[in-house]
């Protein structure tokens, strides 16, 4: 097992190195010159030339990459060109805010999604099952940005319960902070609930028909124990993998939702840095996302192995 984890960590490092090279190459062919960005549109050409030389922008791209990567590894992410601050603390703040959003959405997706799936499976082919199926079908079909508009329309414009957008730090008061988080969280939950509940439903239906569940029922165990202790534990295996993968998918969803709700997290920082051509921020943000994504995938595989004793990584890996 330890060998397997080490091997996977090594692969993650390789993938991240490749991602960084990719991102660096793409960003360095961006049309806007960095020197132009720093000095503004009316800077005299000789000043721009001087700054380009000072920043090493005329050096070969691999040399530039090497300089950037070595600094990056030591934790020096460079300075944001637009905000005139080091990237690291900006990124840390954004990650913290996005984490609040994604963790609360993720918890809700897991709890509500699994419950809905189990309920649908227990009411297999009855009206409630069909209702849940239709609802989750909608969840898959409706794009995140449309969900966000519906949420704003209902909760902000129509009911007036929540602010339409924005963010307030916790220091301004718990309720104000919470109010600004609810709407984006609900949107994320709507958009991601469907996969979890549909998968739980189908594996739960399969498990409920298996002989050992019949045996447990025949023993005279109460239905609650049969469902939760016996059936659900096994039915959750595929769900857990999908949930771990959902961490990555939520990172993608956050891009759109944070932009719509003007929520200053990682996703909005990314869109902002692309629109404003803030390269150091862009490079660091993409790498952080790729790292989270990669570790979420690793977590999914490890969780799966831990929960399912039939799978043992490391021994039979070719």
């Amino acid at each position: 097992m330890a060998g397997y984890v080490l091997r996977r960590l090594f692969l993650i490092a390789l993938v991240l190195a490749a991602v960084s090279l990719l991102v660096f190459t793409i960003t360095s062919i961006l049309p806007a010159s960095v020197a132009h960005l720093i000095l503004g549109p009316f800077a005299p050409p000789d000043q721009i030339k001087a700054l380009e030389i000072k920043l090493g922008l005329n050096d070969p791209i691999l040399l530039q990459y090497w300089r950037w990567a070595t600094r990056f590894i030591t934790g020096d992410f460079g300075e944001s060109m637009l905000m005139n601050r080091p990237v690291a603390p900006i990124l840390a703040e954004a990650i913290q805010r996005s984490a609040t959003l994604t963790i609360s959405a993720f918890t809700l997706v897991a709890l509500v999604g699994v419950s809905l799936g189990v309920i649908a499976a227990l009411r297999h082919n009855r009206p409630l099952d069909h209702a849940i199926s239709v609802a989750t079908y909608l969840g898959i079909a409706v794009p995140e940005f449309f969900w966000s508009i519906v949420v704003i329309l209902v909760f902000a414009a129509y009911l007036g319960w929540l602010p339409a957008s924005g963010y307030e730090p916790l220091s301004t008061g718990f309720w104000i902070w919470l109010k600004h988080i609810i709407a984006p969280t609900i949107t994320l939950v709507f958009a991601h609930l469907a996969h979890v509940s549909r998968l739980t439903r189908s594996s739960m239906i399969e498990v409920l028909q298996s002989p050992y569940v019949t045996a447990a029922r025949a023993k005279g165990l109460p239905e609650r124990v049969v469902v939760i202790r016996h059936a659900l534990r096994n039915a959750l295996l595929p769900t857990i993998t999908v949930l771990a993968l959902d961490i990555g998918r939520l990172m993608g969803g956050v891009v759109v939702i944070e932009t719509v709700f003007a929520y200053p997290g990682l996703g909005r920082l990314l869109v902002f840095s692309i629109q404003q051509r803030d390269l150091p921020t862009l490079q660091a943000a993409i790498l952080v996302v790729a790292a989270i994504y990669a570790f979420a995938n690793l977590l999914a595989d490890l969780l799966y192995a831990w929960l399912n004793p039939k799978i043992r990584y490391g021994r039979t890996v070719a």
Binding site: V15, L16, A18, V19, L22, V23, I26, T27, I29, L30, P31, Y137, L138, I140, A141, V142, P143, E144, F145, F146, I149, V150, I152, L153, A157, H195, R198, L199, S202, I205, V242, L245, G248, R249, M251, G252, V255, V256, T259, V260, L270, V271, I274, Q275, R277, L282, I286, V289, A290, Y293, A294
Partner: protein, 289 residues
């Protein structure tokens, strides 16, 4: 579908009556495609004529879906936008198939180093969430809808390549491929004349589902301003532009939103239906995005 393909592949579907799912899906998607294609002729009003007198009209007999902030008919814009959204989704899928299928075929057939390199490249591309990869590609150039299609297509290349690869892996040991090898046919011939015709069914299912995801992803990018440029607008941009008037005139955003939901539901129904048609064992299971 391909009736005359050799039975040994076991992928070729036997004829089965269409399921209700498939029929419903085809009906929905067919209607939307037809309406979008006919848009210039059936649109009740010009889609881009600005008029100050007809701003923010709620749905009525004259304007079935109301008018927007420039006084333009929402229904006409919806129909024209449907053309763009569909074209973008299909264009993106075609691009991903054009690049992904040869990649997957080569990886599955040659294995070894070719496989290793191609799959590691796709690992790297898949390490970034699709929308961010799209953003990154679009960051390089000024936005236009066809560029969004290219970006989305490129994002999905590794996914299509994976499917093509796994199908090819299963087919390379088939007798007809070995026979072609024994005849000393060249690799290109074997890949495109022997393997590819037999690999189509799963690839078609995958591609038809990709169109949905392509439309969703492309609309999201459009929504962020990296797609169609005003005054023309696909459904993503329509929703984005309508955001500012959501409390005054919700119909401007709701119309393209519902249209998009309907389209995605339709394509999902077709995908589920086709999957069942091609492989009845999968009944009841669902696809991961």
């Amino acid at each position: 579908m391909a009736e005359q393909s050799p039975e040994s592949t076991a992928i070729a579907p036997p004829r089965r009556p269409m399921s209700a799912q498939l029929k419903a899906g085809l009906l929905i998607v067919g209607t939307i495609v037809l309406l979008s294609l006919l848009a210039p002729w059936i649109a009740p009003h010009p889609w881009d004529t600005i008029s100050i007198h007809t701003r923010f009209q709620p749905p009525s007999m004259t304007y079935w879906l109301g008018t927007d902030d420039y006084g333009r008919d929402v229904l006409s814009r919806l129909l024209m936008g449907g053309r763009l959204s569909l074209a973008m989704g299909i264009g993106a899928t075609v691009i991903s198939v054009l690049f992904g299928v040869p990649m997957g075929l080569a990886a599955g057939y040659f294995r070894g180093n070719v496989d290793e390199v191609l799959m590691r490249v796709s690992d790297v591309l898949m390490a970034i969430p699709a929308i961010m990869l799209g953003l990154l590609v679009l960051a390089v150039m000024p936005p236009a809808l066809w560029k969004t299609a290219v970006a989305v297509g490129l994002v999905y290349v590794p996914l299509i390549a994976r499917v093509a690869r796994s199908v090819t892996l299963g087919l390379t040991n088939e007798e007809f491929v070995q026979a072609a090898r024994a005849r000393a046919e060249n690799a290109l011939y074997i890949l495109f004349r022997e393997i590819l015709p037999n690999a189509w069914p799963p690839l078609i299912v995958e591609a038809s589902l990709r169109v949905t995801y392509a439309i969703l992803l492309g609309s999201a990018l459009s929504f962020l301003g990296l797609g169609a440029q005003p005054p023309s607008s696909d459904w993503g941009l329509m929703i984005s532009e309508a955001r500012a008037f959501i409390d005054r005139a919700p119909w401007i955003a709701l119309a393209p939103g519902f249209a998009m939901c309907l389209l995605v539901i339709g394509i999902n129904l077709i995908g589920d239906g086709l999957r069942e048609q091609l492989d009845p064992r999968l009944k009841g299971q669902i696809a991961k995005a």
